[in-house]
């Protein structure tokens, strides 16, 4: 079937329009970026900024130390992310369960979320890092790694619990009804029907919290963990330039990108499966 002349004209017009729009986008991007580069590059202080923050030899020298200590950040956030997810799910479920017998547990869950969401993460890190060991409890971990992990888990668990709770509450009541009507228990309905939908729905804000968490592993430098920020600090204390900080920043940025792409992939996959949307 050959298209009609009118249809061919329409397609020509649409192609031309796509090209025009692409060209406008490309030109405006180049102009904006070019202008920024020009403004920064010709600023009076650029030469000094360049030497202090973006000096290639310094970056190369700082790289091995920062990279080695960033491994600690990676181990920290990998462990904490798992803990946070568990704590978040448990607290969220406790808060939505309608059982009256759980009232005291629910009260604790509410208190936990309010207190730890309201306290600056840095304060929690300091209190846990220096306060918990001072209790001299038996079985209490004394390694800075685990103390740091506990502090971050307490803080981020509270955030994530609220995100997951919002997700659970956003699932339409008919989903609960359908699950219960099939004879599933409350717990089974939660586990197999509501929670999977809720987690999928809140994946983007959850990712936000995890990205934020990855960056906040740098706060643990305050209790003496030599992670990448501390390592950069040491280097910059030697050579009085800040390029090592920029190297550390690049590591933090690079660490969040796989997480972002993974969430994108999950979102697209569930859209495709459930709505037949191809993007």
């Amino acid at each position: 079937m050959t298209p009609s002349a009118r249809q061919l004209e329409r397609e020509r017009y649409r192609r031309r329009r796509t090209l025009t729009r692409g060209a406008v986008a490309a030109v405006s991007t180049i102009v904006v970026i070019g202008l920024l580069v020009y403004l920064v590059g010709t600023s009076p202080g650029w030469d000094r900024v360049h030497r202090t923050y973006f000096w290639w030899p310094d970056a190369k020298a700082a790289f091995p130390d920062v990279a080695r200590s960033f491994w600690l950040n990676i181990r920290l956030f990998m462990v904490v992310e798992v803990f946070v997810l568990v704590v978040g799910i448990v607290i969220a479920i406790v808060r939505v369960i309608p059982a009256p017998a759980l009232a005291p547990v629910k009260l604790i869950a509410i208190l936990y979320a309010d207190v730890f969401r309201g306290t600056p993460t840095l304060l929690i890190v300091l209190l846990v890092g220096f306060g918990l060991p001072a209790l001299n409890l038996t079985g209490m971990p004394t390694s800075l790694f685990w103390l740091g992990a506990i502090a971050l888990t307490l803080s981020y668990g509270a955030y994530v619990a609220e995100v997951i709770r919002a997700g659970i509450l956003s699932i339409h009541p008919t989903q609960w009804a359908s699950g219960r009507a099939l004879g599933l228990t409350y717990g089974q309905t939660m586990r197999h029907i509501v929670l999977p939908q809720a987690l999928r729905r809140v994946a983007p804000p959850l990712l936000n919290d995890f990205v934020s968490l990855q960056k906040d592993t740098a706060l643990l430098s305050t209790i003496g963990l030599v992670e990448s920020l501390r390592a950069a600090q040491v280097i910059s204390g030697h050579d009085f330039t800040f390029t090592a900080y920029v190297v550390a920043a690049v590591f933090f940025i690079a660490a969040t990108i796989p997480l972002a792409r993974f969430t994108d992939y999950l979102t697209v996959r569930s859209l495709r499966r459930e709505n037949g949307i191809v993007t």
Binding site: S4, Q7, R10, R17
Partner: protein, 245 residues
């Protein structure tokens, strides 16, 4: 009867290589009620979605009055304001009350004042017997009530033509009647309507013309009495026979 409101000329549409519309010619004149009948998958819904520009046609033209709306240069939003559509699944906005569902488009897209739009909404709600549910939220309504609100939402924009896509298919038989009553009422007002339906008795009663679609083509079209009692095409006869039993 006066001029043509909506016209399709040789409209074609494929999805993933499957041709769903294989050259549709259809003209609807002012005040006419056209019922599209045919098996599921015959292209009724796709045709309605093309008429409203929800789907881009692969070939052919669609005219709304004297404007060719398949021209890529047209303002699609302005065209859609002139065409109402109601879907099988109601598609009310669950986060807005009945009243807010109805006044949203007249205020935001139609440029009317909220007071004026609300007055129209209340009047239309009274006509469909829902004047006391203006403050309710969609999930609190029955399917029939939701579909009546969806109809009011569409006609609140004062469209030149109303497209109805199997709007009673998701309703139980008890509730179908109340929705069909609204359509009868709209017809007596002179509204131009194109509806895809499986309600043969209703189509026969309310339509000025029946269009029978099969495999992406218009197999036969004509006045209800002729088409239902003396179909020319054996395929139409077969379809109608199966639907009567």
């Amino acid at each position: 009867m006066s001029g043509s409101v909506l016209r399709a000329d040789a409209v074609r549409k494929s999805f993933n290589g499957t041709e769903v519309l294989k050259g549709i010619d259809l003209e609807v004149v002012e005040g006419e009620v056209v019922c599209l009948i045919g098996a599921s998958g015959s292209g009724k819904s796709t045709l309605l979605r093309c008429l409203n520009l929800l789907e881009q046609v692969d070939d052919g033209d669609i005219w709304l009055g004297d404007a060719e709306i398949t021209d890529p240069r047209v303002d699609v939003d302005a065209i859609r304001r002139r065409i109402g559509i109601v879907f099988q699944a109601y598609n009310l906005f669950p986060h807005k009350s009945v009243l807010d569902n109805i006044v949203l488009a007249p205020v935001k897209a139609g440029g009317r004042s909220r007071a004026e739009a609300a007055a129209t909404a209340h009047e239309l709600l009274a006509r469909v017997g829902l004047e006391d549910r203006a403050g309710a939220y969609p999930d609190a309504l029955s399917g029939g009530q939701q579909q009546r609100v969806a109809l009011v939402r569409a006609i609140a924009m004062r469209p030149e033509v109303l497209l109805l896509d199997e709007i009673t298919s998701a309703l139980d038989p008890m509730l179908v009647g109340e929705v069909l009553d609204v359509i009868r009422d709209l017809r007596s007002d002179g509204m131009t309507i194109v509806m895809a339906t499986h309600e043969m008795a209703f189509a026969r009663e309310v339509a000025d013309r029946i269009v029978f679609m099969a495999d992406g083509r218009i197999e036969e079209s004509g006045p209800p009495e002729q088409l239902f009692t003396a179909p020319r095409s054996p395929r139409t006869a077969e379809f109608l026979a199966r639907h009567r039993s």
